[in-house]
């Protein structure tokens, strides 16, 4: 059963179309990913679905409620972890959680049980009574994640949930998100820069670029559409002869030449490597190295958008963003 239906959702900021008529559906209990480069429109989409921003055109229903006509019903059914900081610095971690729970009408006895649980989950038990302004960036993020889960929402929106976390904590969060989804059938919509995050967590992924969905499917189906593995061959000499040789082979789906290397697209690349090497031997092609590359979501992404998501750079800007927020926060 669909719990989110988005139809032709559009947001314009003046001349800029941040989200450009996107449509998709998410079923109950699904983990759905929105993947895209900076400025693609992920956050804007999430903000519209969570009723923080009004769409310019189009609409959506979340948990069966229209986001424009019944925003309050939508709000009671969802939880959200924002990309940007959203804690009260002048309160302690525990107070932030407590206030959140009251704002969501979590009954008192449930609160008393749930808050320690959440603190334990995000490993902030010993910092619970410290003012948030004395937290590190990662601790803040963990508190925000804990807060988003606190009221057991049926649908959870996570806007780059693991930004600024160390790899170990990130794993930990993935496992928790997965468990939440499995045990409580929580529907999860997440955006991310981290390809492995989408690959690991998401049942289906939508690639979004310039406000449009350019591809939408399960990670494995998306990878399959790439047509196979890439065997990349470093040549000692010219690639011209090699190209002629490989062109004759039916099982090679496509060939692309670079300066002194040549890429072959084949299925089950690991099994084809011996054959490729023997062929080169027979034809006296000077091979200096062979490498196998299984298609990743990243390749799919490059295929559809013509650019990499560039995780390294991504995480550098993430760090900057968090840093900046922390800095202005202390003024």
């Amino acid at each position: 059963m669909e719990t989110i239906k988005v139809s032709n959702l559009t947001k314009e900021f003046g001349a800029l179309t941040a989200v450009d008529g996107i449509s998709f559906k998410v079923s109950e209990g699904e983990i759905f990913g929105l993947l895209g480069p900076n400025g693609a429109g992920k956050t804007t989409t999430i903000k519209m679905l969570t009723t923080i921003l009004r769409p310019t055109r189009g609409t959506a229903s979340v948990a069966g409620y229209d986001i424009i006509k019944s925003p309050n019903d939508v709000r009671s059914s969802i939880g959200i972890i924002f990309q940007d900081p959203s804690l009260d610095d002048e309160l302690t971690g525990r107070e932030n959680l407590e206030f959140h729970a009251i704002l969501y009408r979590v009954p008192k006895d449930r609160r008393a049980k749930r808050i320690p649980e959440v603190l334990k989950l995000v490993e902030l038990e010993d910092k619970a009574d410290v003012l948030v302004k004395n937290y590190s960036g990662g601790m803040r993020r963990r508190l925000e994640i804990g807060r988003g889960l606190l009221h057991d929402p049926k649908i959870l929106f996570l806007d780059e949930p693991t930004i600024g976390l160390d790899p170990q904590t990130r794993r930990h969060m993935w496992e928790y998100i997965e468990r939440l989804n499995r045990q409580h059938k929580t529907t999860i919509i997440l955006t991310t820069h981290y390809i492995e995050e989408a690959d690991y967590l998401c049942g289906r992924v939508a690639f979004i670029d310039h406000g449009r969905i350019v591809a939408l499917d399960t990670p494995s189906a998306l990878k399959e559409k790439q047509g196979g593995d890439i065997v990349s061959i470093q040549m000692g000499g010219t690639t011209a002869k090699a190209e002629k040789v490989f062109k004759r082979k039916k099982w090679i789906k496509s060939i692309s030449k670079h300066d002194n290397s040549i890429d072959l697209t084949v299925e089950s690349g690991e099994k084809r490597i011996p054959e490729i090497v023997m062929l080169a031997e027979r034809q006296k092609l000077p091979i200096s190295a062979v490498s196998l590359h299984k298609p990743s979501l990243e390749d799919v992404f490059i295929h559809y958008t013509g650019k990499t998501i560039r995780e390294e750079e991504g995480s550098a800007t993430d760090r900057m963003r968090i840093h900046r927020a922390a800095w202005t926060g202390r003024r």
Partner: protein
Amino acid sequence: MDFNAIYVLWLREMKRFTRARSRIIGMLIMPVFFLVGLGLGLGSLINTFALGGSSYLQFLVPGIIGMSLMSVAVSSGFSVIWDKQFGFLKEIMVTPNSKVSIVIGRMAGGSTTAMLSALIVILISLLIGFQPNFTLFSLVALVFMLLIAMTFISLGLILASIISDLQGFGLITNFFTMPLLFLSNSLFPLSSLPQIVSDISYFNPLTYGIDGIRKALLGPSAGITQISIWMDLAVMLVIVAAMIGAAAYAFSKSEVGQ
């Protein structure tokens, strides 16, 4: 009505207030400076004829109460902008609570801090020689104080839904509060002000609020003689209702987000 949200926003303001010592001191500096500098210093030079013979300090204290209420109340808009800049506003706005409840919660928090700071000002004035005419009726002063606080919290919220940066807010509120202070009966009796100033002062909510406090604390003959305390009350009630309505409207129109 979402009482949970009202309660949380109020409680949050109280926690922040009691934790920020420097803020409390900052709130009191100006009023104390005025009380001592004007009330005791300048006051001794003033011909008390226009004041009906009582000392200038007696006249001044209600004005300073009004002034501190106004400045503390307007600054609740400051905390809205603060929340907007540091992201906490998103957290509040995305919860399933009506905007009206959120506005009321802010009002409750802001009025309580404003009232607390005004009560401290009264305490300080008593220490330096203010002698009110305390009767049961004096409690009406609290009503006027609350009405002043609510009027200016509304102004603060309206400004906060238009302005988005802290510096700009600081400038604009000064731009509003300084003239409001001087174009009123806060520091000097209207009868001793130039005609034009006194005419303008009749359009200033602070004038009626302060006049009400004066009459409640010093007796019905204090303050503006042509107006009764009930007239003051009626005017203030109308103003407060209009301001709260305007604040709720401005808030519901303003879109959160960047």
